[in-house]
């Protein structure tokens, strides 16, 4: 049967961290609550939300760097949510991760050559000498001069270190790469260089990306479809263009208005949203956003809105839309 259209499918995924006091679990930090989404082959799904919305935990759960409380993760047709570390090992080849902090994502005591070839060692791909050539090829691909192969991470700039991280991630020709805030720590000019690199790699090798970030401009640029998260729930999921002019969920609208855009049309100077993020341990009842939503109805306080398809490919979790 033809290769399946959907590469990664997340179904009703929940991830709760027990809060331990004197050995007994007293409550849970409900980081990810009942999230369902799909990523097709070669596609980039943007995952956006503010800190504490569970986007990082969702990402880690998708590639099983943490175990799953309940719900399923189907990767390339196989349910990987309950696999043991050993069973996961061969699958690691197909899914990789790129990190945010260029300084703590590379082992300071290893050379660039070793860092990039490490996944090859673990997956024992290529012989020793072939690995060297593969590493040099990857460095070229990612815009790094291969002559630096024996240099140390502390001898590179932030942008270059991010390129090393990318080279390491694509070394094993993965089908899916989770990008967790890959450019947030970089300056604007370097940011665009790395974004272009990621998009070039995607067009050349057909890798699928899950692109996590709190910077909407960047996410908007790279993704075909975008999911907006709030307190561990998907509040809106749609094609990129929908977010430009047909934003439905109140939180999404507030989020986009809050971005300081370069331009001088008399934007409203007032902050679109007030108050602080509620604590993830005791979540608000009903719709989690109802405590800060300007249009709250009594129904919002009691009934949890499910993700409805209000028009093709456009899902919203809100009673009023």
């Amino acid at each position: 049967m033809a290769e399946q259209e959907v590469l990664m499918a997340v179904e009703n995924l929940n991830k709760w961290f027990p809060v331990r006091k004197m050995g007994r679990a007293r409550g849970y930090v409900k980081a990810v609550n009942d999230v369902s989404l799909q990523i097709r082959r070669g596609e980039t799904l943007g995952i956006v939300g503010e800190s504490g919305c569970g986007k990082t935990t969702l990402g880690r759960a998708m590639i099983r760097l943490t175990d799953v409380t309940d719900g399923r993760v189907i990767f390339d047709g196989q349910d990987i949510s309950r696999l043991s570390e050993k069973e996961l090992r061969p699958l690691r080849r197909d899914m990789q991760i790129i990190f945010q902090d260029p300084y703590s994502s590379l082992n300071p005591r290893m050379t660039v050559g070793d860092i990039i070839s490490e996944p090859l060692v673990y997956q024992n791909m290529y012989s020793a000498s072939e690995r060297i050539d593969r590493v040099r090829e990857l460095m070229d691909l990612c815009g790094l001069d291969p002559v630096y192969i024996r240099r140390y991470p502390h001898e590179f700039s932030g942008g270059q270190r991010q390129r090393i991280g990318i080279a390491r991630a694509i070394a094993v020709n993965p089908k899916f790469v989770l990008c967790d805030e890959p450019v947030s720590a970089l300056d604007v000019s370097i940011q665009s260089q790395v974004i272009n690199l990621l998009m070039d790699l995607q067009s050349r090798t057909g890798i699928a990306y899950a692109f996590i970030s709190h910077n909407l401009n960047v996410v908007y640029h790279v993704s075909r479809r975008i999911a907006v998260l709030y307190l561990g729930r998907v509040v809106e999921l749609a094609e990129r263009e929908t977010f430009k002019n047909n934003r439905a969920h109140p939180y999404t609208r507030a989020l986009f208005e809050a971005i300081p855009q370069v331009g001088f049309d008399e934007q409203q100077k007032k902050a679109p949203l007030s108050g602080d993020l509620p604590s993830p341990v005791d979540l608000p009842s009903g719709c989690v956003f109802h405590t800060r939503c300007p249009y709250t109805q009594p129904r919002c306080r009691t009934e949890v809105p499910d993700l409805r398809e209000i028009d093709p490919g456009h899902y919203v979790a809100c009673h009023l839309v």
């Binding site: 080849r93 290893m110 024996r150």
Partner: protein, 294 residues
């Protein structure tokens, strides 16, 4: 330069990181002085038989408790043995105590510390309790018991001191590994299928090396002093082997008539301990990424 096979890429790489640290170290005059002193001490210890004016046990019965003279530059002890010779041979004991005892302490300490730090949970609880038990144990009893079980003799002194010192290192390594395992490059290793053991060996322990080096250089002086106090209690090395600690305790009787007998080994002990302490400081600054003086 041609890219050699992966293996020696590894070796060349390691030295060059420590090469940077060495460059930083070179700028610190005191550190270099200490390093030279320690290297000298090691040479003296190795070539003791050639350097020492008399054989180790030689007793010059004509010059008992004599003061410094042309024949005996630093004088003689109650058996007529030449003090300078004893100090030279004594360096062997003091240095090997430090190195061997620390070797034992480091292997145990790093192993248990890394396990506790990396796995956490039950394993961490058990190992931490073991650390606390042995840490709250009076060292003296521990050393004496080990000496009895294994019998007296130089090697057992080293074992005794080594077994006592590991709790300190275990605690430091445990704390460091706990911090390191949160770092993203460890998550990256796990994401590409690295086994726990490989992660500990390739990522965690190399990053603890600079702490281990600093802790060891700081611990060697206390081991040397510990051997001295064991000798002071009469549980140290057996004659004719000489150790600075034993000399100081034997010399105590003659403090009024031959102060040199106790002063010179005392100076040797203090200088060696000083050299290791200062070197330890300098190494910490040289190896420590967040350099304080910048």
């Amino acid at each position: 330069m041609s890219i050699k096979a992966n293996a020696n890429v590894q070796d060349a790489a390691y030295t060059s990181f420590y090469h940077d640290a060495f460059v930083r170290l070179k700028r610190d005059k005191i550190a270099i002085a200490c390093l030279v002193f320690i290297v000298l001490l090691i040479l003296v210890a190795i070539f003791a038989p050639l350097i020492a004016p008399y054989p180790e046990g030689f007793q010059d019965t004509s010059a008992i408790l004599a003061g410094p003279s042309s024949k005996h530059w630093l004088g003689t002890d109650e058996f007529g043995r030449d003090i300078l010779t004893r100090i030279i041979y004594g360096s062997r004991i003091s240095l090997s105590v430090g190195l061997i005892a620390e070797a034992i302490a480091v292997t145990i300490g790093v192993f248990l510390g890394a396990l506790a730090g990396y796995y956490g949970g039950k394993i961490d609880a058990v190992i931490s309790r073991i650390i606390e038990i042995f840490a709250s144990f009076p060292h003296i009893l521990f050393a004496i018991v080990i000496m009895f079980v294994l019998g007296t003799g130089v090697i057992n002194v080293f074992l005794a001191i080594g077994f006592v010192g590991w709790t300190g290192i275990a605690r430091i390594i445990r704390a460091q590994v706990m911090q390191l395992k949160e770092k993203e490059f460890v998550e990256a290793a796990r994401a590409s299928g690295g086994s726990d053991l490989k992660i500990i060996l390739r990522h965690l322990i190399p990053n603890c090396l600079s702490t281990i080096i600093v802790v060891v250089t700081m611990a060697i002086p206390s081991d040397i002093m510990y051997e001295a106090s064991l000798s002071f209690l009469g549980l140290g090395v057996q004659p004719p082997v000489s150790s600075w600690g034993e000399m100081i305790s034997m010399a105590r009787k003659y403090l009024r008539t031959n102060p040199t007998y106790s002063v010179f080994p005392g100076i040797a002990l203090v200088l060696t301990v000083l050299a290791f302490n200062l070197l330890g400081d300098a190494l910490r600054d040289a190896l420590d990424p967040k350099l304080k003086n910048l």
